[in-house]
């Protein structure tokens, strides 16, 4: 190991100076000479046959360059948007999605035509003048009804609405329930939510006629992935497509798939011979960017009267929307595989049914299946505790695997790498002053005040993924991650990675790793990502994988560089390779620290004559890292709320988060990730819900006016602490932290709300726990 001054240090982000001064470079900040603006004409209906599209009037609008419909695109586009089909083990009906509707629209907001015009406003004006005549078809909105025999169909030519129906058996579930003293049942709804990155999606495409080359700037988390599918769709060789994801204003999972507009902008540039830009408005973003969650979980829990957990049955119904999301089924799979949470069960049985409806697709949103898992199992243990009149902390502690039981295999066969669950819970309880708080709670109850204490002890899965584990559930994707580490003759270092940073601060954390691993100054390390022209093929950033897979790839490349540099240093020092030690950025002969060469000196030598016999010049290495296992962060969050019984308003009085994400590269960035994650979890728990009209499938929460993401007044001060249990899965002992806050938070908040309202006999509250919902529940309970 080299110097370790950077790993673990609070380094201020190198990304920030340009971002705080307005010199970021998001896609809409760029122009191309001769560029036309693209506006998308979207379906005003959730389900209808397209009778005609009349562009006569729109074509006369000022500045119009061209108007294209499916018929035009069919000449330059083929196939459909990808779906990780093999994930859907028992695949039923997965309709193909062409990027634009041809004869039938199946969700409100589906593209039906595009307009190109010289100016931004002209494109929007002309799009208004495209006349589309629809013949209405029955609309499928309620996904539980949609799975029944004889339901109306979301696609008129489909056999039914069932996309998949898969079982996840783990242990003898009947035996577990036979042993039970108590069983509890509940229906837990994970409402649809908008991911709502502050930057909506934006695409700029420049197809060079006669050269058959395409450059596409797009606000995405996965530039390489987008390139592959544009290559298939447009029939342009992958080598002749360059995808650039520059500064990206947040993603949260909603930018990790190829989208129709990427195909349409690229194809429009090809058809028109002009560069084309499309900027998604917020209202459009709510219609056209994938939604998160959208599940029902019916759970049944079996336990002994001493609080020992025995069995858990989970039936998941997933509201896919009109087209199965690219990773749509992955969320259900993760929700079930993680449903055991951090508890020892004798048996867990899961079933998931994917259901098509006339709505936008659901796809990953921060956590993608793990928040759903944590929410259901954390609700489940609280339900048991309430039933048995046990303290929920005691019940949890009783069912944790002990530290000595790791690696711990959960009831569905997932192997948790390391953990000490009791330790995070102990710490969180100390921080919140748990015993005092319980006393205060009972005192306040006597005064008619309703304080609630909610626990959420979660475990999650990061670092996707080991190819052996993921390939059969990811459509045969290996999900390895790549890096190139290149030391220049003057000793500075360029690192190119296949991940993408859109707020996570990779430029900083990755440079910290490289500075330590190579023993070079932090400022001499430059990180490149997001441009397929100068980065190796990579799977991008999602699933809290960038550090545990991408970071380890970089570290491994650095080790390869050190290995080669050591041979060169030995040659320069006229010593045997084995006699040279690498320490603090210097190569020295064992026992003679003064006989040394720095990495910079070796880098120069690597580019000059006189290298060891048979050695190639240069000092660089490439790694495609395939991790041996996932990583398993965990933690304990405690939320304290007071609910006003007269208004139903929830006041978060305290929020404690104790997280363990293994070793830390930059504590400031880790805390920031927790903050943001918790805020999104609180948002789902208390405020957010996507609503479609049951009869028409119109989006009722269609603007930011109608949909409440938390503002400054809604998020309390968050008190953070951590424990550190290194991951044995990788050499840096890191796990990942991008989604942990969201995974933990919704359960902590809802458990607190239920705890507050338990004197009313309330056992469960659905999200969002809005004042309206709670007021009605309290009123009903008081009858």
């Amino acid at each position: 190991m080299a110097v370790t001054t950077m790993i673990g240090a609070k380094i201020h982000r190198r990304e920030d100076p340009r971002l705080v001064t307005g010199h970021g470079s998001y896609v809409d900040d760029m122009q191309q000479v001769g560029m036309a603006y693209m506006s998308v004409v979207r379906s005003s209906q959730a389900h209808a046959r397209i009778k005609s599209i009349d562009i006569t009037d729109a074509s006369k609008a000022p500045g119009v360059v061209a108007i294209y419909t499916a018929r035009d695109f069919k000449a330059v586009l083929s196939g459909g948007l990808p779906v990780t089909e093999s994930l859907i083990a028992d695949k039923k009906y997965v309709p193909n999605q062409f990027p634009i509707a041809e004869s039938e629209v199946v969700y409100f907001g589906e593209p039906v035509a595009v307009v190109l015009a010289d100016e931004r406003y002209q494109a929007a004006d002309a799009a208004e003048r495209v006349q589309v005549e629809y013949e209405l078809l029955p609309v499928v909105v309620d996904f539980e009804k949609a799975m029944q025999n004889g339901s109306e169909k979301a696609h008129s030519d489909g056999p039914d609405n069932i996309a998949w129906d898969v079982n996840f058996p783990g242990g003898d579930i009947d035996a577990a329930f036979k042993e039970a003293d108590v069983t509890v049942k509940e229906r837990i709804i994970q409402q649809r939510v908008f991911p709502m990155s502050m930057e909506p999606r934006t695409v700029m495409a420049n197809f060079v006629p006669f050269a058959n080359q395409l450059t596409l700037w797009t606000s995405t988390q996965v530039p390489h992935f987008v390139r592959i599918f544009l290559c298939f769709g447009l029939g342009i060789p992958e080598s002749q497509i360059r995808v650039i994801a520059p500064d990206v204003g947040g993603g949260f999972g909603s930018k990790l798939r190829p989208y129709p507009e990427e195909y349409l902008a690229a194809a429009s540039s090809k058809l028109s011979g002009r560069p084309v830009k499309w900027v998604e408005g917020r209202t459009e973003n709510l219609q056209a960017t994938t939604h998160g969650r959208g599940h029902i979980f019916d759970i049944e829990v079996a336990a002994k009267k001493d609080g020992t957990l025995l069995g858990l049955k989970v039936t998941n119904l997933s509201d896919n929307g009109a087209y199965v999301g690219v990773f749509g089924a992955l969320q259900s799979a993760l929700a079930l595989l993680l449903a055991p949470g951090c508890y020892k069960w004798k048996a867990v049985h899961g079933r998931t049914v994917g259901i098509l409806t006339n709505k936008m697709s659901t796809d990953p949103y921060r956590g993608a299946g793990r928040p759903e898992a944590a929410h259901l199992v954390e609700r489940a243990v609280d339900l048991v505790a309430q039933e048995l009149k046990m303290d929920p902390a005691d019940l949890r502690r009783k069912n944790f695997p002990s530290e000595a039981e790791f690696p711990f295999t959960n009831a569905l066969g997932m192997v948790y790498d390391s953990g000490n669950y009791a330790k995070t819970l102990d710490k969180a309880q100390q921080m919140v002053g748990y015993e005092d708080l319980r006393r205060r709670q009972s005192e306040l109850r006597k005064q008619g005040r309703y304080l609630g204490i909610g626990l959420s002890t979660y475990v999650e899965i990061c670092g996707v993924g080991p190819s052996a584990a993921t390939s059969h559930v990811s459509g045969n994707l290996s999900l390895v991650e790549s890096s190139v580490v290149r030391v220049h003759p003057t000793g500075s270092v360029t690192v190119a990675v296949g991940t993408h940073s859109h707020g996570q601060g990779h430029d900083t954390t990755f440079a910290q790793i490289v500075a330590d691993a190579l023993g070079v100054p932090y400022d001499s390390v430059e990180i490149h990502h997001g441009d397929t022209a100068d980065t190796p093929f990579g799977y991008g950033t999602y699933g809290s994988r960038s550090l545990a897979v991408g970071g380890i790839s970089i570290y491994t490349s650095c080790q390869k560089v050190v290995d080669k540099a050591k041979k060169i240093a030995a040659h320069m020092l006229e010593a045997a390779d084995d006699d040279v030690v690498f320490d603090q950025g210097r190569f020295h002969v064992k026992g003679s620290p003064e006989r040394a060469k720095t990495m910079g000196e070796v880098a120069l030598a690597a580019h000059l004559p006189g290298l060891p016999e048979g050695m190639e010049a240069g000092l660089e290495a490439v790694t495609y890292f395939d991790p041996p296992n996932f990583t398993w962060p965990f933690g304990a969050h405690i939320c304290v709320v007071e609910v006003d019984p007269d208004t139903g308003a929830v006041d978060i009085q305290k929020y404690i988060a104790v997280d363990d994400c293994g070793n830390i590269i930059n504590p400031m960035i880790v805390d920031g990730q927790i903050h943001g994650g918790v805020a999104q979890g609180i948002g789902q728990a208390l405020f957010e819900e996507v609503v479609y009209a049951e009869d028409t499938g119109q989006l009722r929460t269609g603007t930011l006016l109608d949909y409440n993401i938390p503002g400054m007044g809604e998020i309390p001060e968050l008190e953070l602490d951590r424990t550190i249990t290194p991951s044995p899965t990788n050499v840096l002992g890191v796990k990942g932290v991008g989604e942990a806050g969201t995974i933990a938070a919704s359960a902590a908040v809802i458990n607190a709300v239920v705890d507050a309202l338990s004197p009313f006999g309330i056992k469960h509250v659905d999200m969002p726990a809005s004042p309206d919902r709670l007021w009605k529940m309290i009123k009903e309970a008081r009858k």
């Binding site: 380094i11 190198r14 920030d16 502050m198 209202t283 920031g672 943001g676 999104q680 006016l705 503002g711």
Partner: protein
Amino acid sequence: MKHKVATTVNGHRHEHEVEPRLLLVHYLRDVVGLTGTHIGCDTSQCGACTILVDGKAVKSCTMFAVQAEGRNLTTIEGMAKDGQLHPLQQAFWDEHGLQCGYCTPGFIMAAAYLLSQNPNPTDDEIRKGLEGNLCRCTGYVNIIKSVKSAAAAMGGAPARAGEKSVAGR
């Protein structure tokens, strides 16, 4: 029919002919070429496009460019002076007050106005003062810290005990 509009943006005078319906934010971004002011919604909720108009925080999507005739506009690009970050910019950097950075210019401009009216705001006053701006990354925790830290640096509040940290570039 285009209209003449003359504005002063970050101390520089600009004259253009624009459509009367052109939003001020599009004027700044597409006509003047200052892209630091961002657009995060189309219903004036998000505050990403906040600038100062004659020193007052305004969501620049709520004004037409022609309404800015003769006004003094300050955008995020006008905050750093002589190669030195404005204390708010420095504070957002120091306190990790941003992640993806998209909402940041709007927050900094709204905070600049807040501090001009209230040089030493409490947490609650910051929460109220910046309630018109949305951020999806930070959970606001470090934005509040950033504004307090800037207030201290600008002389409005006693300096906070600094955390030990390593300065990066």
